[in-house]
């Protein structure tokens, strides 16, 4: 009675598409009863595997709406969203849960760790819902915490960790089931600039290791870490431009000897020393 047989359709577990994200004439309308709010207007967008994308725009421009749909937390009102080739428009909510579990790693602005639950248990959570054995779960969770630089703090509760550390636990958790897509909605919004840089360095590293990362930000400094910047205004996609990430720019700039040091540099190092 307690265990329901896990049935995951094959299409969820198989990687089928080079285009990890494909939005086709996608519209999102919020029906609040009295008035209908247009969240997103007819968005067409393709993100390939391995891209590092920033979504930018003013408050209310539709960034979170887009992220909810990309994250399969919400469904498009019209048009289609293909995630890894799967049309998510008409899937039942339990199938969407399975897709979120296998294909998406979430990183939130407010961390969203489960309170009074250790870092280790938090990282294990997506694997628990994937029915991975306790031993394998623990082993992988420890590895992941190691990877984000928290190998010794696995027993800590979220309230015993700093903001930057919490966000790193959240990133470790997002990586748990090795999802092809990492979605981060303002991941540095609640962090000081030093921790923000740390977190962005971590995302850059993940991207360099092959992960597809899509993040929302309204800070140009943060978007500067990515390879592609997509801007929204009033629910419409207004610009989509490639970007040379800061890390590469720094390298190019450092080849010019007359350029002074970047002002962020000392902050970045003190932040690194913190952990």
């Amino acid at each position: 009675m307690w265990k329901k047989k896990e049935v995951i359709p094959d299409y969820i577990t198989q990687n089928v598409s080079e285009d990890l994200i494909k939005l086709v004439d996608m519209v999102k309308i919020y029906d609040t009863g009295s008035i209908k709010v247009l969240g997103l207007k007819r968005v067409n967008l393709t993100i390939k595997r391995g891209e590092f994308v920033a979504i930018m725009g003013q408050s209310g421009s539709g960034k979170s709406t887009l992220m909810n749909i990309l994250g399969c937390l919400d469904r498009p009102t019209m048009g289609h969203y293909f995630l890894d080739g799967i049309d998510t428009a008409d899937l039942p909510s339990d199938d969407l849960s399975a897709i979120r579990n296998r294909k998406i790693g979430f990183v939130f602005q407010s961390f969203n760790l489960i309170s009074r639950t250790s870092a280790l248990k938090n990282v294990e959570l997506p694997m628990t819902y994937a029915h991975i054995s306790k031993k394998a779960r623990e082993k992988r969770a420890l590895e992941l915490l190691e990877r984000v630089g928290l190998g010794t703090r696995y027993e800590h509760m979220p309230n015993e960790l700093s903001g930057g550390q919490r966000q790193r636990v959240a990133i470790a958790r997002a990586l748990a089931n090795e999802p092809p897509l990492i979605l981060a909605d303002e991941p540095t919004g609640n962090l000081d600039s030093a921790s923000s840089v740390e977190i962005m360095e971590l995302f850059s590293k993940l991207h360099n290791e092959g992960a597809t990362v899509v993040l929302v930000t309204h800070e140009e400094d943060i978007a500067a870490f990515t390879n592609r910047i997509i801007r929204f205004r009033d629910g419409s996609l207004v610009s989509d431009t490639p970007n040379i990430p800061v890390s590469k720019r720094e390298k190019e700039e450092s080849e010019e000897p007359e350029e002074p040091e970047e002002p962020e540099e000392p902050e970045y190092q003190s932040g690194d020393a913190l952990c």
């Binding site: 849960s97 979120r100 969203n112 628990t128 819902y129 994937a130």
Partner: protein, 403 residues
């Protein structure tokens, strides 16, 4: 996953210890009272069967009692011949039968006078009723057939009369049916009285003893009441029917005019009393379980609201409707089962304490405990369904936005 859910549930319950305990209170009282009453019933039943194990579970008294309230007829009484006939006819089913005779006498030894209730018995009475002889011997066939003035006395009475428990060989003087004569003590026995029986009977001022039935009953006597022991293992209900029918026929009476009073009819009335008590306490228990269940539902609803964000996170990370449902059902089941366990400990503890104070052997059946705890878990599951489905049905986006 089940284990995960259970540790999670215990975690959540521990996080709010006082709240959890108060929530369990209804369940504790409900289960506690059920355990108490069931155990009291089992203890009583055990004690009564224990008492009648000493007395004999196949003991019965039979007499005529006109059901229409009319007077007794001369023929309603039994004669020694009647008893002999019954003994012959039912020799395969009745192991012992007598005239149920008894005399209260005053025994005199020197200056000592002690009142005795002397019971008249047949020679094989010790076979059906244990008499714990400590000095001398039981009455035997020779004593009975020969109508000998031989008695067996209970130790306390012997000591009071003769100044010593070992009164074998001593004799006292008394008057039975107007004849004063000397009676010889051939044996002394010790009575082991069940504490419960002692409590019920109170202390009688008469001491006890046995003498040959033949001294108390003469062939032309009229006997009101016969006492019999059916063969061990006899179904007393069906035997009672057949035997009463037989007596009714031989006495030219209706079946209803024959009273067959046996231990099993006594046990039946005990069950009736316990049944009434059980119904009353069962009602209280049902109400407290209902109240307890509603309390659990209420606190689970609070918990679901408080943990809206957690639910959102879990769903975002891949928890399905069923996963969330089971998580909260497990929590309410464990909350309720913990209440059940505390209730069992409280209820059983009180019964045990009471039993120990009264010097009784308390009967608490493991099965009753298992059923009680299992049932309380079921109460938790039942009253957890609504809160759990509320949790499971939450929209992840809304839930994640919850502050």
């Amino acid at each position: 996953m089940l284990f995960e859910n259970m540790t999670m549930a215990v975690h959540a319950i521990k996080a709010n210890k006082m709240r959890s305990l108060l929530t369990m209170l209804g369940i504790i009282i409900g289960i506690g009272s059920v355990i108490a009453i069931v155990s009291i019933g089992d203890t009583m039943r055990f004690m009564i069967s224990d008492i009648y194990k000493d007395v004999g579970t196949t003991l019965a008294y039979v007499y005529i009692w006109p059901s229409d309230g009319s007077d007794m007829r001369q023929s309603d009484y039994f004669s020694v011949d009647d008893i002999d006939r019954i003994r012959e006819v039912y020799k395969d089913e009745i192991t012992y039968i007598d005239s149920s005779s008894q005399q209260n006498v005053e025994a005199v030894f020197g200056r000592n006078k002690v009142k005795f209730a002397l019971e008249g018995i047949g020679s094989n009475y010790p076979n059906v009723h244990k008499i714990n002889i400590i000095y001398g011997r039981n009455l035997n066939e020779g004593d009975i057939k020969g109508r000998k003035n031989h008695v067996v006395l209970e130790a306390e009475g012997a000591k009071e009369l003769f100044g010593t428990e070992n009164a074998v060989g001593k004799s006292f003087r008394t008057t039975i049916y107007g004849d004063t004569d000397d009676y010889d003590v051939v044996g002394v026995y010790r009575k082991e009285e069940n504490p419960f029986l002692a409590m019920v009977n109170g202390s009688s001022e008469n001491k006890e003893g046995y003498l040959p039935e033949s001294i108390l009953v003469w062939p032309n006597d009229t006997i009101y009441n016969i006492r019999l022991y059916a063969k061990e293992g006899t179904d007393m209900n069906s035997f009672s029917d057949r035997f009463s029918q037989y007596i009714a026929k031989s006495k030219n009476r209706k079946r209803e005019d024959v009273t067959f009073y046996s231990v099993s009819s006594e046990m039946g009335s005990v069950d009736q009393i316990m049944g009434g008590l059980s119904a009353a306490v069962g009602g209280i228990a049902a109400i407290s379980l209902l109240v307890g269940g509603i309390g659990i539902m209420n606190i689970m609803l609070v918990s679901v609201t408080e943990r809206t964000r957690e639910i959102g996170i879990r769903k975002a990370l891949g928890a399905k409707t069923w996963d969330v449902m089971v998580q909260f059902l497990t929590e309410s089941a464990i909350l309720s089962a913990m209440g059940g366990i505390i209730g069992v400990i409280t209820g059983a503890g009180l019964v045990f304490l009471g039993g120990t104070l009264l010097g009784m052997t308390v009967v608490i059946k493991p099965m009753v405990i298992i059923i009680a705890v299992g049932f309380s878990a079921l109460v938790g599951v039942f009253f957890g369904i609504y809160p759990a489905s509320k949790a499971a049905g939450k929209d992840p986006i809304e839930a994640l936005r919850y502050e």
